[in-house]
């Protein structure tokens, strides 16, 4: 279908810092015991897109990710892993792999997206309107209780800023304005020309940009070439294209008309004009066309390009893993409401317990929980709404509530873990109490320690 898929899997992000490290990059962070990149790859595979380019920052990250992909998806998909230098931003990543892009349209997916939106629908909207960019918008996910660790934990009135301010036209097909919530302080600026042509702009704060874009390849590469300072697709390229949609400076067709041999002789210039007029008059005029045709005395032809949106249905799940809060939320959702995403089948108690896991006597595992393979739990434990990874050794009288425990973790007796994330290879000695903490990989929590809202990492 002339689409190429690029997955931007990032590197080792600072926002997820205690959880990610050089051995465990962003893309391989486990959500419900599966690396988060696997959700994107499965979604693409479901849509029959088998040729991917995965872009990661840093050579060793590339090696890790490449190893995992070839292990898991060797025969089903054809994946190329490309490594780009760190801190070039998403725009720089695309610049780096520009020579590998040949299809007419490029689908750019962020590697930390967990969703079940049909990708074909975004691509179809893009094709139907002949747009230069189509963005996927979804409803802002409801976030869990605010962590006290986030950025100093100051005023409650300041929302985490995960929402975007989106301006749409009345038919909800075209994107008129986009700004990240965090950037907007007091006022919002909208282009006058856009407002004049469309007439009505609907500003929504409940939609979120899901970082899944369909770009026209020639336009994207041209914009990146001409504006070398653009760093990020979402913050620079997309607003630029949206702002300039009625004063387009991009060359829409790449090569000029005389592509096919013989056509320019058969249809002369005036006939071509008449033909385009017939086609233009036949369809419902979008505001782009009205703007182009409106005569304001200027003789220069005003070119326009279209920026479209696809708004995901409210029954679809869509979330991005870009902060610790999001990590907790997504884990909870994937084993809770959006359980169809996890790909596992739930037992009668509404939880997933691997057959090789052992439970001690009087141990209860509540609904919406997950127990990985080879894990052992001691007696009188209780697990509620949590994810426990593989090969964990959990002692007796342990309470795990609302937490994520990764692989190879040893938890001593009498511990209590609440709302925390415990990375791999961690050892918790007896009677440790953790509340809203993040424990980095390989750390050892001493016996009897009581931590609230801390980040514990090996130095």
């Amino acid at each position: 279908m002339d689409f190429q898929v690029v997955v931007l899997a990032g590197g080792v992000s600072k926002k997820l810092l205690p959880l990610v490290s050089h051995e465990l990059p962003n893309a391989l962070l486990p959500v419900a015991n599966r690396p988060v990149l696997s959700y994107v790859v499965e979604l693409l595979e479901l849509s029959n897109l088998k040729d991917l380019i995965v872009v990661v920052e840093g050579k060793d990250t590339a090696l890790n990710v490449g190893a995992w992909i070839s292990g898991a998806y060797a025969d089903r998909l054809h994946v190329e892993v490309a490594a780009v230098p760190e801190d070039v931003g998403t725009a720089g990543a695309i610049r780096a792999i520009a020579r590998h892009l040949y299809a007419k349209d490029i689908l750019i997916v962020s590697g930390d997206l967990v969703s079940d939106v049909p990708i074909g629908a975004v691509a179809a909207t893009h094709r139907r309107h002949d747009a230069v960019v189509t963005a996927l918008l979804c409803n802002t996910p409801v976030s869990g209780p605010l962590e006290s660790v986030s950025s100093g934990g100051k005023d409650k009135a300041k929302k985490p800023g995960r929402y975007d301010l989106i301006g749409l036209d009345p038919t909800k097909q075209f994107l008129l304005h986009i700004a990240t919530g965090a950037e907007v302080e007091k006022d919002l600026r909208i282009q006058k020309s856009i407002l004049r042509s469309v007439g009505q702009v609907e500003i929504r704060a409940d939609l979120m940009d899901a970082h899944l874009y369909a770009f026209k390849r020639s336009v994207l590469l041209e914009v990146l070439d001409q504006n070398g300072e653009f760093h990020s697709l979402k913050h620079d390229v997309l607003p630029y294209l949206v702002r300039s949609q009625l004063k387009s400076e991009v060359l829409l067709n790449g090569t000029p008309q005389a592509e096919e041999n013989g056509t320019e002789k058969v249809i002369s210039q005036s006939n071509q004009q008449m033909l385009s007029q017939i086609l233009a008059n036949a369809s419902e005029p979008t505001f782009h066309l009205r703007h182009e045709l409106s005569t304001n005395g200027s003789d220069s032809v005003r070119r326009t390009h279209k920026c479209c949106v696809y708004i995901a249905g409210s029954n679809k799940y869509c979330a991005r893993l870009n902060s610790l809060q999001a990590y907790n939320d997504i884990n909870r959702d994937v084993i809770g409401e959006a359980s169809h995403l996890s790909g596992y089948s739930f037992s009668s108690h509404n939880n997933i317990i691997d057959p090789t896991a052992e439970l001690g006597a009087k141990t209860t595992v509540g609904p919406h929980c997950m127990l990985g393979e080879g894990s052992q739990m001691g007696d009188k434990c209780s697990v509620k709404r949590s994810v426990i990874g593989r090969h964990c050794r959990i002692g007796a009288n342990v309470k795990v509530v609302n937490s994520v425990v990764m692989n190879h973790v040893t938890i001593g007796d009498g511990c209590s873990i609440q709302g925390s994330v415990i990375c791999s290879n961690v050892q918790l000695q007896e009677r440790a109490t953790l509340k809203d903490c993040q424990v980095g990989a390989g750390y050892m929590v001493t016996a009897g320690s009581d931590c609230k809202g801390e980040v514990l990492t090996k130095k």
Binding site: L49, A124, L279, A282, S283
Partner: protein, 457 residues
């Protein structure tokens, strides 16, 4: 006299028997094998018998002997109340459509699908339908979404998409280009047909393409054949649509005089061009633009006319009998013109033509010659298209008119949104085509003389 009638009934009998056993091998897409048909009667299982004037016309021409004519009988069009064929077609369908819940009984032979879920279903299958070329998929998507309307634009877009598909086509080894390419194009056309039923005159364009493919000399290489086909398609678009429109505009503008009040209905690109060119030449006239729900297509036309400075009156079709007394001429567009002079056009055109006839106002149909078809239609029921019934239940911009909100749950209520209707030839004064201005009775002559075989080599 009686012998002629006897022959006619015998002919009718023989011809009707044939399709019963021949149809199992026939392709599903409605237009696929119409290429060789010289038969002027439309064969339907329960259709009315052919009128006597048409058969007598046929007899006077050079009729090939009975045996050859039997082979040329066109396959039956798919009737959607025939369960077997519908079931078979569904299994082969690329687009899953669900039937609408409250189907109108009289129109059960036409496809009536649930419009709400059509577009999302097709969209989500973008990457699954590998057999469909991207350009063809885009055209199908735009048809289904209603982005394109009007035969000229639809035809042009479809031909352009076929051009792109031909350019990207490559013959698999050990296969003949002609057969493979024809099969591929048939599959694309059936996909487009599933998205939105093809109109009659688009069938002409497709038959042209298939005929050109069949006429390709075997000695041509792939590249030569493809370039030849593409330039043929370009020539078709150029000659049959663009230049034809120019000629029509030239002819019809002579009919516009100073002081005229012209009435037009719906959105016809040719009529718009005529009005604009007459205005450019400097003639002084008024235009009455008549519109109808639910499409309200004429508003776009009205905007463009006003932008150019014509003085217009805008009204809806329920008031047409009150405004007809001031009108001097009526210009209408057509989707197709059939052999008995009937004009197939947007629903409401027949009304306008009838009221004009009652007021003795001449009706000019402006239509390119490629839209002429050898079929005969006597009513608007046999061959039509049903649009989205939900569009009738709502009035855009009026949220308070919601009495029909739950119309799907009412068992006794069916909404019918027809797209086309048929204007009898008595109400048409003259048809302006690129071959000149002809009376409606001369249509079979044009079809015969300038028909398929004579499309330029």
């Amino acid at each position: 006299m009686s012998s002629i009638l006897f022959l006619q009934s015998v002919v009718g009998l023989i011809v009707v028997l044939y399709p019963a056993n021949g149809n199992s091998a026939v392709a599903e897409s409605g237009k696929a094998a119409l290429a060789k048909s010289k038969n002027q009667s439309s064969l339907k299982k329960d259709g009315p018998p052919v009128t006597s004037e048409v058969t007598i016309d046929k007899k006077s021409g050079n009729r090939p002997p009975e045996k050859e004519r039997k082979k040329d009988a066109p396959p039956q069009r798919m009737q959607f109340d025939d369960q077997n064929r519908v079931g078979k077609a569904k299994r082969r369908a690329l687009v899953n459509q669900t039937e609408a819940k409250n189907r109108v009984e009289l129109f059960r032979h036409l496809p009536q699908y649930d419009h709400g879920s059509q577009l999302p279903n097709l969209e989500s299958k973008l990457f699954q339908l590998d057999s469909v070329h991207p350009a063809v998929f885009k055209v199908g998507l735009r048809y289904m979404a209603g982005d394109i309307s009007g035969v000229n634009a639809r035809c042009t877009e479809m031909l352009r998409a076929l051009q792109e598909a031909i350019i990207d086509y490559s013959t698999p080894p050990e296969k003949v280009l002609i057969r493979e390419l024809t099969a591929k194009i048939s599959s694309y056309i059936s996909f487009i047909n599933e998205c939105r039923p093809l109109s009659i005159s688009m069938g002409n364009a497709i038959r042209f393409v298939k005929r050109r493919i069949a006429k390709l000399p075997l000695s041509h290489t792939d590249v030569e054949a493809k370039t030849a086909l593409c330039s043929d398609i370009d020539r078709f678009i150029n000659e049959k649509i663009i230049i034809a429109d120019k000629v029509i505009v030239g002819h019809a503008s002579t009919k516009v005089r100073d002081g005229d009040v012209l009435l037009t209905y719906g959105l016809s690109c040719v009529v718009e061009m005529i009005l604009l060119s007459a205005h450019d030449v400097g003639k002084k006239f008024r235009v009455v633009v008549v519109d109808s729900r639910p499409k309200l297509e004429s508003q776009a036309l009205l905007n463009r006319l006003i932008a150019k400075g014509l003085s217009c009156t805008y009204t809806h079709i329920n008031a047409v009998s009150y405004i007809m007394h001031e009108v001097t001429k009526v210009f209408l567009g057509a989707s197709a013109v059939l052999s008995n002079g009937t004009v197939l056009s947007r629903v409401g055109t027949a009304c306008i033509a009838m009221v004009a006839h009652a007021f003795s106002v001449p009706v000019l149909i402006c239509c390119e010659a490629f839209k002429f078809h050898e079929r005969v239609l006597l009513d608007s029921i046999c061959c039509n298209e049903i649009g989205d019934p939900g569009a009738l239940a709502t009035v855009p911009g009026r949220m308070d008119i919601n009495y029909l909100e739950n119309w799907t749950n009412e068992e006794n209520l069916q909404l019918l949104n027809l797209m086309y209707d048929v204007t009898p030839s008595d109400y048409v004064s003259v048809i302006v085509t690129d071959h000149g201005m002809i009376p409606p009775t001369s249509v079979p002559v044009i079809v015969r003389e300038y028909g398929q075989e004579h499309y330029l080599i």
